[in-house]
């Protein structure tokens, strides 16, 4: 396989594109709303109308507005004479929402001048127009189960370019200059991490993709894997070349069967074309990827616990240092990055470090994908440049709370994060600003809460989560979270005194500073942030208890 062959596949794929594209979302949200049946009946409707020559029905990845699924997008027009002009990508198509299988004939009917009563979405609304797709540029456009579709979208050209024309040092330099930071939450500079693994000594090295998206309320990794699995594989292969690894693992949650299935298909297809395996693109670089399926343990998102799980052990974290970069999987130097981090690599290589560095804020470059959910009108995925104000995301893109409710807070970063009150919504979304507000970027879940939400209850909910998920290895986390949960329950039941509140705060500090891994260290965060902004709710519950 060489570049000419790659371009030939892309050319062939584009030439086979029919003038009208009917795209049916086949990502988790829409699948659970029966989109598979919708696609089938769209196929049947095309055959019935005799339009097979001109209309192509494709199952694609996430189209982002999950709450209105199943989503179907129709692009292009049926022409009477045969068409040789491809559909311009820039023109907006028609988006149909909440499609049921019975709607298919009337949707296809519109192509030949018919009318339809199916609910139409507005692709020009702020939810879509403020987005800046880099990670999700192919999502909802390419067919995740066909490698040709990804290649036609310039896929694997970056990998070819890297293997044939660049040294590993060049690649690391490009990633460092791009300013990309880890998208798993902590925001460690990706280039620095790669350089450390590249420098580490070891006869074998590993590359791991952390797809153990355990944060409740976060689904962007799932969506990326389901919509564009090849993008992640390409990023991993480039990373492996840069650090000198020949074996990669993708650690995915078992709760994501569609993502696992599509990854398996993607790996098989890439191997068949010689894009994964030995002597990739006829270079001297070998790279093999295996999937490891998780078994339900939140702590496995922590890198040392994740590696223990890949080795077939209980997912218990180890104290660091040594960091995985020096001594990781089976003691060898290991590079671990999040799904979204790998998904950013291919565009950086293709378009250059300067292009990427020009997006975002001074310290947080590029875009971030957020999963917008909770009490909000438009739930779904958004990708916006770093630094976008929270208010724009929640009120303008998300459309605020449905039925005229008022936003009270936004919870970011899952159980490790915190609640940001509506009064701080003018703050831009980047690593530093969120940390200043006592929350964190986390993997990118954003849960909107309205006025009816009880913040003490929210803190208790997260503490219950951490208590259940604590692996039990270190005492502060194992015992501390149970006691914190107990105190929070006492407060929310109106049975607590001011002494309990003081105890709560003190214990939070202890758990934070003495736990072994990130789970325990960040478990008190939801309590800290609700105490910081909503202390009156705690006090009201205590006062109410004192009266009884």
């Amino acid at each position: 396989m060489d570049l000419a062959e790659l371009l030939e596949i892309a050319k062939k794929e584009r030439a086979s594109e029919k003038p009208v594209q009917v795209r049916c979302c086949m990502a988790a949200g829409c699948l659970s709303a029966n989109s598979e049946a919708v696609k089938k009946s769209l196929d049947a409707a095309v055959t019935d109308a005799g339009l097979e020559e001109q209309v192509q029905v494709t199952g694609v990845g996430c189209m982002r507005l999950c709450c209105q699924g199943p989503l179907v997008e129709v692009k292009g027009e049926v022409k009477q004479s045969s068409v040789d002009k491809p559909v311009a990508e820039e023109t907006l198509g028609t988006l149909y929402e909440k499609v049921v299988p019975e709607d298919a004939p009337s949707i296809i009917g519109t192509l030949t001048g018919g009318e339809t009563t199916v609910q139409k979405g507005d692709l020009a609304q702020p939810f879509f127009t403020y987005q800046m797709p880099i990670v999700l540029e192919n999502s909802g456009k390419v067919d995740p189960e066909r490698i040709q579709s990804y290649i036609a979208a310039k896929g694997y050209q970056g990998l070819y370019h890297v293997l044939r024309e660049k040294t590993p040092a060049d690649v690391i330099d490009t990633i460092t200059r791009s300013g990309l930071r880890g998208r798993g939450g902590a925001g460690y500079p990706t280039g620095v991490k790669w350089a450390t693994v590249a420098k580490a000594k070891g006869d074998r090295k590993f590359v791991i993709c952390n797809a153990d998206e355990g944060d409740p309320g976060a689904f962007m990794d799932r969506s990326i894997l389901e919509s564009d699995p090849h993008r992640v594989l390409e990023g991993m292969a480039i990373a492996a070349y840069a650090v000198g690894a020949n074996q990669g693992y993708i650690y995915v949650r078992a709760e994501y069967p569609t993502a696992i299935n599509r990854l398996q298909i993607a790996i098989r297809q890439a191997q068949r074309l010689g894009i994964l395996g030995t002597q990739i693109f006829d270079s001297r670089f070998d790279f093999k990827v295996d999937i490891r399926i998780g078994a339900g343990a939140y702590v496995c998102g922590e890198e040392t616990a994740l590696m223990a799980s890949i080795e077939g052990k209980r997912g218990m974290p180890e104290p660091r240092p040594p960091y995985p970069a020096e001594s990781g999987l089976w003691g060898y130097p290991t590079l671990i990055n999040n799904v979204e981090t790998y998904a950013n690599i291919s565009p950086i290589i293709r378009k250059g470090a300067e292009w990427f560095a020009s997006i975002g804020t001074e310290k947080s470059k590029g875009t971030k994908v957020f999963a917008l959910a909770g009490q909000i009108t438009n739930t779904g995925l958004i990708e916006v440049p770093m630094g976008t104000p929270l208010e724009l995301i929640v009120e303008t893109m998300g459309g605020g709370v449905p039925n005229g409710g008022i936003v009270k807070a936004v919870q970011t970063g899952g159980p490790s994060g915190g609640c940001i009150p509506a009064s701080a919504f003018n703050s831009p979304v980047d690593y530093e600003s969120l940390a200043q507000l006592g929350s964190m970027m986390g993997s990118g879940g954003m849960i909107v809460m309205d006025q009816t939400t009880n913040m003490v209850d929210v803190a208790r909910f997260f503490m219950e989560f951490c208590m259940d998920e604590s692996c039990g290895k270190c005492i502060p986390c194992r015992v501390g979270t149970v006691q914190l949960h107990h105190l929070l329950t006492k407060i929310s039941e109106g049975k607590a005194s001011m002494t309990d509140l003081a105890l709560l705060e003190e214990l939070c500090e202890t758990v934070k500073f003495t736990s072994l891994c990130g789970l325990g260290q960040s478990a008190p965060n939801p309590v800290f942030s609700t105490l910081r902004y909503f202390k009156e709710e705690y006090l009201a519950l205590i006062k109410q208890g004192a009266k009884v």
Partner: protein, 181 residues
């Protein structure tokens, strides 16, 4: 059964086509998986996944069998099987109903569904209905937050659920069983 019996000789056609020594075909299928992973001890979790898929849950015999096949101490296999939420050491109901308790589902009423079920059906999360028909489980987050609250009925995810819809489904399962019986 010892570990040697798990490694069937390649050339023996009769051995591979005959049923497993235990008389249970499922062990033979488990053997095939173990073999595919070349008896690697680090494939333990993958093999337990397969075992649970075959047997429905991880009974003690199966755990011992896996331990012997991989030459691992039984304590290690038991330790792993009990550490992860998805492995179950007890038989489950004929049907399963998994309620997502992720944050998005939580703020949209998943907790209410659970409390209502406790009241109306007298069943708690992690339990199976007395007729053995439905196991009620919870999941940490299904990643289907756009359609919260989400519930998985026998593997099919449905969104925007309420206590009534879940209650009705559980009753339908029980009713079907009575009809068949």
């Amino acid at each position: 059964m010892n570990s040697a019996s798990a490694a069937q000789p390649k050339n023996s056609k009769t051995a591979s086509s005959a049923i497993h020594a235990s008389g249970d075909k499922r062990f033979k299928m488990l053997d095939a998986t173990i073999k595919r992973y070349q008896y690697q001890q680090d494939a333990l979790i993958e093999i337990l996944h397969k075992a649970q898929e075959l047997f429905g849950y991880l009974e003690t015999d199966v755990l011992i069998y896996v331990a012997q096949s991989l030459k691992l101490p039984p304590s290690r296999v038991y330790g792993v099987a009990t550490f992860y939420h998805l492995f179950s050491l007890a038989p489950s109901g004929a049907h399963s109903c998994v309620i997502c308790t992720g944050t998005a589902c939580y703020v949209k009423g998943a907790q209410t569904i659970l409390t209502e079920l406790e009241k109306s059906d007298n069943i708690r999360a992690g339990e199976t209905t007395p007729d053995g028909q439905v196991s009620l489980l919870t999941a940490r987050c299904l990643g289907a937050c756009g359609i919260a609250p989400a519930v998985v009925f026998d593997g099919a995810v449905l969104g925007n659920q309420t206590a009534e819809t879940v209650h009705d489904w559980i009753h339908r399962c029980s009713a079907e069983c009575t009809k068949e019986g």
